[in-house]
Symmetry: C2
Subunit: 327 residues, 2 copies
């Protein structure tokens, strides 16, 4: 259990280090508190023994350990309000009724990335209530037909089918079959239905039914697939913990690795903070994320930055965005 004074010291060190990125010494703290540097040194030693502080070398000032950050965000962090300018900028996005949800998300995350110098990720999973609404075709010319799939939430996906191996008639029949049999099916069950209800039937009267089946399989896979967007990646380069190129490359590669990014999915409804080794992404970063859920959509938004991150600001922004989206 920490004393009041120890908590104050820890908090000051965290805030100071976040601001200046330099180890914090006892002398600096002694002017901010009403006791001598020697006293503070003694407390620092205890905090270090408890694993909340670290030194970069024997005679350096202290920096927070991962545990130190953890204690700070769990017990000491105070959320201040967003400032007027930030709210104003975000509101212009949320008030734009022209935009679709995914655009609102990416635009607001762009703002957040600009305001914080961190990197944002949105992972947009379509909701389970998303059902196939209609599938229609537009014959373009003798060689090409466009198949268009629409869900009851207004998602659209399309695929071009060449009329070489299959005829327009065959495509039409298949589409009618799908419209008759599987309209209304939730999108994540469609692949199964397609295989077991449609494939056997078309197999009977379409010569090259594999081609047709694959085309439809593709378009349904696309529409049920996750939409991932990384915003403000270049902000990584602004932080001095990432001043060495190979570290940067490491993180950039991870930010392009789809399976890595899909892992970021958060089901918990709170704003969750994963500091350093607590996240699976990279031990040198902190990931703050939350899930969101509307009647059409659900997904995760995440902010990634150095462990030395403005936790309070990011938590506030994320919370604000989550609430606005869910309205």
């Amino acid at each position: 259990m920490l004393t009041k004074r120890q908590e104050e010291i820890l908090k000051l060190i965290v805030l100071e280090y976040i601001k200046l990125a330099k180890p914090v010494g006892s002398k600096l703290l002694s002017v901010k508190m009403k006791c001598s540097s020697a006293t503070i040194r003694n407390e620092m030693m205890e905090l270090e023994e408890m694993g909340l502080l670290e030194k970069t070398h024997t005679s350096s000032g202290r920096i927070p350990s991962e545990q130190g950050y953890r204690y700070y965000v769990d017990n000491l962090m105070q959320l201040k309000e967003l400032n007027g300018e930030e709210v104003f900028k975000l509101q212009t996005v949320f008030n734009n009724t022209q935009l679709e949800l995914s655009d609102v998300l990416s635009k607001s995350l762009e703002l957040v990335s600009d305001m914080t110098s961190y990197t944002s990720i949105m992972l947009d999973t379509k909701s389970h209530d998303n059902k196939l609404k209609e599938i229609s075709i537009v014959p373009v010319d003798k060689e090409l037909v466009v198949v268009i799939v629409v869900t009851d939430q207004g998602y659209v996906e399309h695929k071009n089918i060449e009329l070489k191996e299959v005829s327009l008639e065959e495509v039409k029949k298949t589409v009618k079959l799908i419209n008759d049999l599987i309209v209304g099916t939730p999108i994540d069950e469609i692949s199964a239905k397609l295989e077991f209800e449609i494939k056997p039937v078309i197999g009977k009267y379409v010569r090259q039914h594999e081609i047709l089946y694959n085309a439809f399989y593709d378009v349904f896979t696309d529409i049920s697939s996750k939409n991932i967007n990384v915003v403000g990646k270049n902000n990584i380069l602004k932080h001095q913990e990432f001043s060495n190129v190979s570290k940067v490359k490491d993180i950039f590669d991870k930010l392009e690795d789809r399976t890595m990014l899909e892992n970021i999915k958060e089901s918990d409804n709170n704003i969750n903070i994963y500091i350093g080794h607590e996240n699976k992404m990279d031990p040198d970063v902190t990931v703050i994320k939350t899930n969101y859920k509307t009647n059409k959509d659900e997904g995760t938004i995440a902010i990634i930055g150095p462990k030395r991150m403005e936790y309070d600001k990011v938590v506030n922004l994320l919370d604000y965005i989550k609430k606005q989206i869910e309205r």
Copy 2:
């Protein structure tokens, strides 16, 4: 005019410097040629006076100047054949008939980026012969209707319209109007037609015609807009000329700047090389690009790397891809 020997020296220096990124000295060259290092030093001095070579400091070996690279690519470069593995990998992409052109392009550029460690850009302009084929609507529920636009080349774009300020009837009427009046119009002329032929008419019987007009304007703008894709951006980090983070940030920011990227458009049909200051992107890079043109599509593909680039390899690859696409 350069003598044979001077050309040989220049070529060796370019190749050696591309390989090892270290200034090339006279001693190294003397073992590759049948004359003494003193002779080579004299020739180097002349080449430097002509502006083809540079020194990094008074007593360093030589590196090629931009003019030196220019002379090399114009007069000395020999194109070797692609190796079997490279051809094989690319062929698996080109032979996949399932893929649309833009997918073929981005996949083959991914391969090129992997094979070369450079960065690729594709800029896909839709051809002028692309005409509006059909516009159709799918009413999703009482509050939402999806508008889908298809061109005669099989491009699809869509937009959701909320049925709050406008009614389904009004949307239907407008769509009928568009289908009657401007189907067959080249996509880059549609905006104008929309404004002068459709807008005045719907203004008469649609209360909130601005909303409807804007929605259609948006979707036509989208479909005629350029498609830009940057592949292998992280490869920038592999080259020692970009080992300092602020330089990297500079280039990365440019690679996300849409207007910068649109400038890359090349109308010339050859493989063109822009070394250092010859390109508008950044004086420390070389851009090699060419345009391509199929019956559906036209655009530009470009490779970006350090000036110390494997010119021969990149030119070969770009040429190969261009030819395959245009088949």
